[in-house]
C-alpha cells in the first residue's frame, strides 16, 4: 500500500463524514441518533486502526519519519502550496491520542448526549474537530498546520456555545474566540516571516530535524519567528496571561470539555513548540521565556485551582498546571519527557473530565473507603507561608490573578476606546457623511410615537414563511 494513503485517510475519514452529515442535514434529511453516533464511532474506530498501521509502518521502516506528499494544493507562477503530511515519533503519539480519545468520547457521548436537542450538531462538530486536530498533528508544513489550528479553534468556540439558549455560554464562547484570534496573529505572522526569510514553511526545508544541516533562519530571524509562535502557543495552551479562557470553556458539554481541554486542543500549543524545536534551539532567549511562562502558569493554576467551587473549573486549572509544567519541560529541552507527559496527562484528564458529573459520588465513595479520614490537601503550604501572605494569595487566586482585568484594561480596552473615538468623530461629521441619519430618524420616529424606524416598521412575532 502506498505509504501516503494511510495519513490522508486518517484525516479524510472524519472530514468526509462531517461533510456528509452536514450536507444531509442541509438538504433536510433527519438522521437518527443511532446512525449518527454509529458512523462517528466507526470512523474513529477505523482511525485508531489506521494509527496502529502507521506505528507498524514507522517501526518496520527503520526511518525516523514518513513523509507523504500529495502534490500542490494550488500554485501560481513560482509559488505553490504543497500538500504534505509528516508522521514521526513526535506526531504519531498525538495522532494516536487524537484517534483513540475521540473514539472513546464518541462512545461516551452516544449516551451522554442522548435526546439532547443538539445531538446531531455535537457529532458534526466532533467530526470536524477530529479532522482539524489530526490535520494539525500530521501537517508537513506550518502553512498546513494553520489550517488544522483554525479548524480546531472554530469548532472549539461552537462547542463552548453549545448550550446556545443561555447567554453565559455564548458570552464565554465570544471571549474565548477573541483570545484565540488575538493569539493566532502570532502564528500567522510567524509563518509569514518564515516565508519572508526562508521562502518556505515546509518542515523539510525549515526544520533540520532529521538531516545534518542548519535551519535557513539566522539566530535573529529564528528569535523573531519563535516569539510569535510562542504567542500562539500560549493562547492555545492557556498560559498566563491568556489563561482566563480555559475555565470559561467549561460551559460546553462535558465530552467536548474532555476531548478539547483535557486531551487534544489544549496540547496543540505544546505540540507546536515541540515541532518547532530546531528553531527554538537557534533562537535566543526563547527557551528561557518558555520556562518562565510555564512556571508562572503552573503556579497560577495550582493556586487558583484551590479556590474553585465546581469540579470542571477545578479540573481546568489542574490542566493548566500540567500544561505549565509541560512548557517548562520543553523549555529545558526535555522533549521526550514532555511528550510522555502530554500523553499521560491527556489520558488521565480525559478520564477525569468524563467522570466529572460523577465526581461528588466518586469523592464520597473514596472518602468512605478511607474510613471518613480523607483530609484536605495543601497543609504544607499553610505551614510555609505567613497568614497575611496566605490571605493575599487567596484573594489573588479568587480573582484568578487579575489576568482578565488586565487584558481588558490594557489590551482590549485601548482598542475599543480607539474604535469608539473614531466612531464618535464620524458621528460628529454625520451631517456631512450621513452616518448619524439612523439615529436622527430613530429620534424623530420616537417623537412621532412610532414603534420602530429603519427598514420596515414594527415587529411581527411568529412570522410564517408565506409572508416571507
Amino acid at each position: 500500500m502506498n505509504e501516503g494513503f494511510l495519513p490522508a485517510l486518517l484525516i479524510l475519514a472524519p472530514g468526509g463524514l462531517c461533510a456528509v452529515l452536514g450536507l444531509a442535514w442541509l438538504l433536510g434529511w433527519r438522521m437518527r441518533e443511532r446512525l449518527v453516533a454509529g458512523l462517528t464511532i466507526a470512523c474513529y474506530g477505523a482511525a485508531s486502526l489506521i494509527v496502529v498501521a502507521l506505528w507498524r509502518q514507522l517501526l518496520t521502516s527503520g526511518r525516523p519519519m514518513i513523509q507523504a506528499v500529495y502534490g500542490n494544493w494550488f500554485e501560481v507562477g513560482h509559488y505553490h502550496f504543497p500538500l504534505a503530511l509528516w508522521v514521526d515519533y513526535t506526531s504519531l503519539p498525538l495522532l494516536t491520542l487524537g484517534a483513540l480519545l475521540t473514539f472513546l468520547v464518541a462512545v461516551f457521548s452516544r449516551r451522554y448526549m442522548h435526546r439532547d436537542e443538539g445531538f446531531f450538531r455535537f457529532f458534526v462538530l466532533l467530526n470536524l474537530f477530529g479532522a482539524g486536530i489530526l490535520l494539525f498533528f500530521a501537517a508537513g508544513s506550518f502553512d498546513l498546520m494553520i489550517a488544522g489550528w483554525e479548524i480546531v479553534g472554530v469548532t472549539s468556540i461552537l462547542l463552548i456555545a453549545f448550550f446556545q439558549r443561555r447567554d453565559d455560554p455564548v458570552l464565554s464562547g465570544l471571549r474565548v474566540f477573541a483570545t484565540y484570534r488575538a493569539c493566532d496573529v502570532g502564528l500567522l505572522t510567524g509563518v509569514v516571516l518564515m516565508h519572508i526569510y526562508a521562502g518556505t514553511s515546509e518542515f523539510t526545508q525549515i526544520l533540520p530535524t532529521y538531516v545534518e544541516r542548519h535551519t535557513p533562519l539566522s539566530g535573529q530571524q529564528a528569535t523573531m519567528v519563535m516569539f510569535l509562535l510562542l504567542l500562539a502557543a500560549m493562547g492555545k495552551a492557556a498560559q498566563v496571561p491568556f489563561s482566563g479562557w480555559l475555565p470559561r470553556a467549561m460551559e460546553g458539554p462535558t465530552p467536548s470539555s474532555a476531548i478539547f481541554y483535557g486531551a487534544l486542543s489544549v496540547h496543540a500549543g505544546a505540540y507546536l513548540l515541540l515541532r518547532a524545536w530546531p528553531l527554538i534551539e537557534a533562537a535566543a532567549y526563547v527557551a528561557e521565556t518558555i520556562i518562565v511562562i510555564g512556571a508562572l502558569t503552573a503556579l497560577h493554576g495550582t493556586f487558583v485551582g484551590r479556590t474553585c467551587a465546581d469540579a470542571k473549573t477545578a479540573l481546568a486549572y489542574a490542566t493548566m498546571t500540567q500544561l505549565g509544567i509541560i512548557f517548562v519541560e520543553i523549555g529545558f529541552g526535555w522533549r521526550t519527557l514532555a511528550l510522555w507527559h502530554i500523553t499521560g496527562h491527556a489520558l488521565v484528564r480525559t478520564m477525569q473530565f468524563l467522570r466529572a458529573p460523577s465526581m461528588l459520588h466518586d469523592h464520597h465513595r473514596v472518602h468512605a473507603a478511607a474510613g471518613g479520614h480523607l483530609g484536605a490537601t495543601g497543609g504544607w503550604l499553610a505551614a510555609l507561608l505567613p497568614q497575611r501572605a496566605q490571605l493575599w494569595l487567596y484573594r489573588l487566586a479568587l480573582d484568578r490573578g487579575h489576568h482578565d482585568t488586565m487584558l481588558d484594561r490594557f489590551v482590549a480596552g485601548p482598542v475599543v476606546r480607539l474604535a469608539e473615538w473614531i466612531q464618535g468623530v464620524e458621528h460628529m461629521l454625520a451631517p456631512m457623511s450621513g452616518t448619524g441619519q439612523e439615529e436622527t430618524s430613530r429620534r424623530l420616529a420616537r417623537k412621532a410615537g412610532l414603534a420602530n424606524s429603519g427598514p420596515g416598521l414594527g415587529q411581527t412575532e411568529g412570522m410564517e414563511g408565506a409572508d416571507v
Binding site: L26, F74, G77, H78, Y79, E150, I151, G434, M463
Partner: protein
Amino acid sequence: MSDQLFIPPVSLGILLTLIFSWFVGKQTDAEKARRQATGALALHFAAMLVAAVAVAWTPGSRFSEAPWQWLVVDALNAIPLSLYAALSLGVVVLAPKRKLTPRWLAGIMVMCAMTCLAYAANNLLIFTLGWAGSLAPFLLTRAFAMPGVAADIKGPGVADAGGRRHTLPLPARIALWASLVSLCAGMALLVYAAPEAGLNEALGLTLARQGDAPPVFAAFAFLMGAVILRKGLFPAHSWLAPAFEQGPLLPMILLVNGHLGAFLVARIVLPLTPDMAHHAWSLLSNLSLFTAGYAALLALVARNPRRLLAMVSISQAAFLLTGLESNTQVGIAGSLTLWQVVAMSTTMLAAVYAAIEARLGGWPGQPGFLGLAAGAPRLAVFFAVGGLALVGAPLTLGFPAEDLLLQGTLVTNPYLGVVLPVVTALNAFSVMRMFARLFLGRPVAAAPGMADALPRERLALTAALLFLLAGGLFPAALIRLPAVAAARIAAMMPGQQHSGR
C-alpha cells in the same frame, strides 16, 4: 490578437437581460415578475458561464464578440462575469417578498447587465457606459425605493413629498455621482493623452500611456479618484455605512460587490498608465491597508448589523487593491481570488440578514441576543459559513485567497504581513459577534415560530455555500484563470517583482 466566439454569449446575455428588464418592470404581479426575472437572469448566467468555460478551455485566449469587437472575454473577466450573474440571480431568488416590486427586480436586472457590460468592455466608452448604467437604478430611478414609509419621518435626503424614500441618502448619491464624473474626466484625459493614436486606438485598452506627463498624471488621478469613491476607501468611506443602514440592503451589496473600482484598476489603470501606477502603488497600497484597518475598528463597535456588514465588507474588500498594486503575479491572483470570496460571502451574509429582517419586520434594536437559531438553524449555518469564508477560514476559498495575497505582497509591502492577520482577526471577531447576537443566546419570543430557510432560500444559499467550500477544498480550478490574468497584468508593469519561491 483575439479569437471570436461562434455566438456572442455576453452580448446576447446583456441584451436579453436589458430587454426583459423592461417587461419585468411593467408587470403588476410581483411574484410573476420574480419568476420572469429569475428566468431571464438564469439565461444571463448561462450565457456568461458559456463564455467563461470557453476561456477556461484555453486559458490564455481572449475572445472578442462579433461583429463590433467592443466586448471581450478573457481570463480577467470570465469569472467576474459569471459570478456577478450568479449573485444577481441569487439576490432575485432570495429577496424577501415584502421588498419585492417589479421595478425593484427590473433595477437588479439593469444593474446586472450594465455591470457585466463594464466587465466585458473592450473600449473606454463602453466601460464608462457600463459604470454609469450600473448606478442608474440608484441615481436616476426609484427602482429600489421602499414603499409605504410614513411621510413624517424626515431627514436630509430621506423622504420626499410622496412619502417614498429616495433610494440612498444624500452623501451616497453625491459619492456615486462624483465617482462617475471623475471616471468620465479620467477617460477623457486618457484619450487626450494619446494624441498620436486614432480615436479607435485611443479608446481601446491596449495602448499604454508611458511616463508621467500632465495629461497622464491627471487621467490617473481622476481614475483613482473614481476608484476611491466607488470602493469607499478612506476618507471616501463615509457614504457606505449610511447607504447600507438606510438604503436597500440587497441592491447595495450587489453594487458594492461589482467591485468595478478594482476592475477599473486591473483592466484600465494598470495596463494603460503603468508608469503612474508603479510610482503611486506604495501610496495606494498603504491607503488600502489603512482603510482595511480603519473599517475593521469601526466594525468592532458597530451596533447596527447593517453598519457592521458594511464595515466588514469595506475592510476585506480593501485588500483587493493591495494585491492588485503588488506588481506580482501571485499577489494579483490572490486579489482576484479574494474578489470571488468577498463577493459571494458578503452577499450570503446580506441575504441571510435580509431574510431575518423580513421575518422580524425590521431590526429590533434592543441590546442582547436574539437566539434565532432556535427557529432558523439553517440560516444560522449559512451565515456562519459565509462569515468564516469572508475572514479566510480554512476549508473555504478565503484561505487560499488570503494565502496568495500574503505571499504575493510580502516583497512589495511587508506591512501587509502584519496588517492582514490583525485586521482579519478583528473582522472575524465582529462577524462572530454578529452571528452570536443574531442566532445564539436566549431566544426572543419570535424565534421558535420563525420560519427557517425556505426552499428557494435553501437552494440559493446552499449553492453559495458549496461554491465557497468546494473552492476551499479544490481551489486550483478557481485560481487558474485569475493566475493567467495576473501574469498578463504583471507582465505589463515596469520593474515587475517576482514573489517567493
